[in-house]
């Protein structure tokens, strides 16, 4: 039973960042801009917020520190994403190329800055984890369910689920959401009824940047005690989650859990009894999430419901 708890908790740690970042991907693609720089944005968000924690942890700790760090991660992501928005909306450049540039930039920049400003000159930024909630009051005492979902948890898990709810409401129940989706499907039609396509696309990219930045922090906190300028390709997995989830928030949730479980198997196989005796080298396990992604994509891409105008720069003059 304790193994089941562990697997569920681990799956949460891996799924929630995927969920958050993939939702970011939904917003940007629904507005018509593809953003393969999610990985880089995660790195930037994680970098600034973990560095903040590293600097402040002597004076503060616990949830307040985490909440401020979350804010910093979001702001970093938004600011960084402006580069992508500018390139793909104003300059009408190839969005994949711009995204690739940001993906190359982020880890190099994180390593460079970490080594230049940290006194010991190393690229890893360490932090002590004071954020785990061993048991949520009241809810943690519920039999079974409490153990599964409300013990050894992080506040970020609940924030992630909250973001999911908000995303559903924003995308489907608000004027903003409708306009955003219109810009991704048929920007000229949207423009003809007075929607500012450029502004909506900026909004989409910035939301994705903020969520990716947050996702970077959420990914690093439970799984490590240092940040090493990488999020192990999670931004790319999030893109796959988004496609598997067919650009719909609720489906993205299930996709994220699927990948989270894969990742858990890949990283926690040594504590799962029948897998630990199998003597399979760790490199093989590390491949699992990526192979699973490919297989899933092979089956789910044929009837792809991608926004029609995604990755096509909007030019008012073109027809």
């Amino acid at each position: 039973m304790s193994i089941l708890y562990l697997v569920v908790q681990q799956t949460m740690f891996f799924s929630i960042p995927l969920l958050i970042v993939a939702l970011g991907g939904v917003f940007t693609e629904r507005s018509g801009v593809t953003n393969i720089a999610l990985d880089g944005m995660m790195i930037m968000g994680a970098f600034t917020s973990i560095f903040f924690i590293n600097q402040m942890q002597s004076t503060m700790s616990g949830q307040l520190l985490l909440l401020i760090a979350i804010l910093i991660a979001v702001v970093t992501g938004v600011v960084f994403s402006l580069l992508h928005a500018y390139a793909s909306v104003n300059m009408k450049s190839d969005q994949i190329i711009s995204g690739t540039a940001l993906n190359l930039f982020a880890p190099a920049f994180a390593i460079y800055v970490a080594r230049m400003i940290q006194e010991n000159g190393v690229q890893q930024i360490t932090f002590s984890n004071t954020f785990r909630i061993s048991s949520v009051p009241v809810l943690g005492d519920i039999p079974i369910l409490g153990g599964l979902l409300f013990k050894n948890a992080y506040i970020t898990t609940y924030i992630g689920l909250l973001i999911l709810v908000i995303s559903v409401i924003v995308l489907y129940k608000t004027r903003f959401g409708l306009r955003l989706r219109a810009c991704g499907e048929h920007p000229h039609a949207a423009d003809s009824v007075g929607i500012n396509v450029y502004r909506m696309r900026y909004a989409g990219v910035m939301i994705s940047g903020g969520l990716a930045g947050l996702g970077g922090l959420v990914f690093v906190i439970p799984t490590s005690t240092q940040f090493n300028a990488t999020v192990s390709g999670y931004g790319f997995l999030a893109l796959a989650v988004m496609i598997f989830g067919q650009w719909k928030p609720m489906r993205v949730l299930f996709a994220a859990f699927f990948f989270g479980l894969m990742k858990t198997i890949a990283s926690a196989y040594s504590v799962i009894p029948f897998l630990s005796t199998a003597q399979i080298p760790s490199d093989v396990y590390k491949m699992i999430p990526f192979i699973a992604t490919l297989i899933v994509l092979a089956f789910s891409s044929k009837s792809s419901q991608a926004p029609r105008a995604v990755a096509v720069p909007y030019d008012k003059g073109s027809r």
Binding site: S98, T100, M116, F236, L294, L297, S301
Partner: protein, 382 residues
């Protein structure tokens, strides 16, 4: 004035200008970062970057060519895919799988007679690289999986698989590197050892560069790709599919076959690049088997972009990227972090994404200015 106007009408010139502008913008940004992080040494540091491979004489230039060799191949890989309408981010995975194949044969298949050993190893690298790209190619053609996502996944799978295979077959655990390949599998020097070395003292001993005939092979492959793309029906068909799949289908081109073939050729080029880099003897590079994606693969993207996907342009841009990367390594003498080069390269890519703007608007603007000036002159004469 007239000369400038003529130049502006040549497309190649306009294209090269856009790359050069992107390079300058990237370098400027790098300089600003150096200034912010350490104002007193920024100028010295920047000079080291600009001096690049020249900092260490003949050997340094040889090293530039040695590290440019795989970049030419991965650049060709990405560039070829670009020309055929595909974006191959998967050069990393194809590269490392090819590298493993070459090293494996180089170490284990010592039964192959000497002059053929390295050729077989290179051939294997090419084939394995191609096979690694076959999967995304098939997925794209028949199952509509976007090649960007699938090649990224193949990068990670390739990296872990190569690590696993290296560790379980050709690993030297003392050095934590792949083993040296057999003498017969090392690429011949091809006369380059007579040019690129630094003399040690006056005794005639030399500090030899690792550059070898792999560089020639890279150049030949680039020329072949240029011919295939521009002078053959086959290349024309692949390019046509890149422009418009439906139109080429209508014209009787098998568009699915073209997609798969483009991907396989791109992968084969990257795989060959892996073989060329790692079949270079004890002083050359070895596979480290760590969880880091091969940088040569990713750097193929800036190489292809700066070379505007033109095989000949790619030769020059690969040498440039290799050149400043080496400059970055020498930066460590000033306590700067070599990652500054990656930052610069990222900026160069970012600005080359604006290339369209530079290419179309800048010349138009200049031309318009000049036309206006000419009209003014004519009026003045009247």
């Amino acid at each position: 004035m007239i000369l400038l106007k003529k130049l502006l009408n040549i497309r190649g010139f306009n294209n090269a200008t856009s790359s050069i502008v992107a390079i300058f913008a990237g370098l400027l940004f790098g300089f600003i970062i150096l200034l912010i992080s350490n104002p007193s040494q920024a100028v010295d540091g920047f000079i080291i970057i600009l001096k690049g491979g020249f900092s260490t004489g003949g050997k340094g230039m040889g090293q530039v060519m040695y590290f440019a060799t795989p970049l030419i191949l991965t650049g060709l890989s990405v560039g070829f895919a670009f020309k055929t309408g595909l974006f191959n981010i998967g050069a990393s995975g194809q590269f490392i799988m090819g590298a493993f194949a070459a090293v494996y044969i180089g170490v284990k298949w010592t039964f192959i007679p000497a002059p053929f050993h390295w050729m077989v190893a290179l051939l294997a690298a090419t084939i394995v690289g191609g096979l690694w790209a076959l999967i995304p190619g098939l997925l794209k053609a028949y199952l509509n999986v976007h090649e960007v996502i699938s090649t990224i996944m193949m990068n990670y799978i390739g990296m872990y698989l190569a690590n696993f295979l290296v560790k379980s077959t050709v690993y030297d655990s003392k050095k934590a590197l792949s083993m040296n390949v057999a003498e017969s599998a090392v690429l011949p020097k091809g006369g380059l050892d007579k040019i690129f070395y630094n003399p040690i003292g006056s005794s005639g001993a030399v500090d030899l560069s690792t550059v070898n005939s792999g560089f020639y092979i890279a150049l030949v492959v680039a020329v072949i790709m240029f011919i295939v793309l521009n002078k053959t029906t086959f290349g024309y068909e692949l390019k046509a599919c890149g422009f418009n799949q439906n139109a080429s289908k209508y014209a009787g081109i098998n568009e699915k076959r073209s997609i798969v073939l483009s991907m396989v050729i791109a992968g084969a080029l990257a795989g060959l690049g892996g073989g060329l880099l790692y079949l270079s003897g004890a002083s050359g590079r070895h596979i480290k088997a760590v969880d880091v994606l091969a940088a040569e693969g990713f750097n193929g993207i800036p190489v292809a972009l700066l070379g505007l996907s033109n095989p000949i342009g790619i030769i020059f841009s690969a040498i440039f990227i290799s050149y400043i990367t080496l400059g970055g390594n020498y930066l460590q003498t000033l306590n700067f972090v070599p990652e500054i080069i990656d930052v610069i390269i990222a900026c160069v890519i970012y600005f080359s994404a604006f290339a369209l703007l530079f290419r179309n608007i800048l010349p138009r603007l200049l031309k318009w200015r000049m036309d206006a000036a000419e009209i003014k002159n004519e009026r003045g004469n009247e």
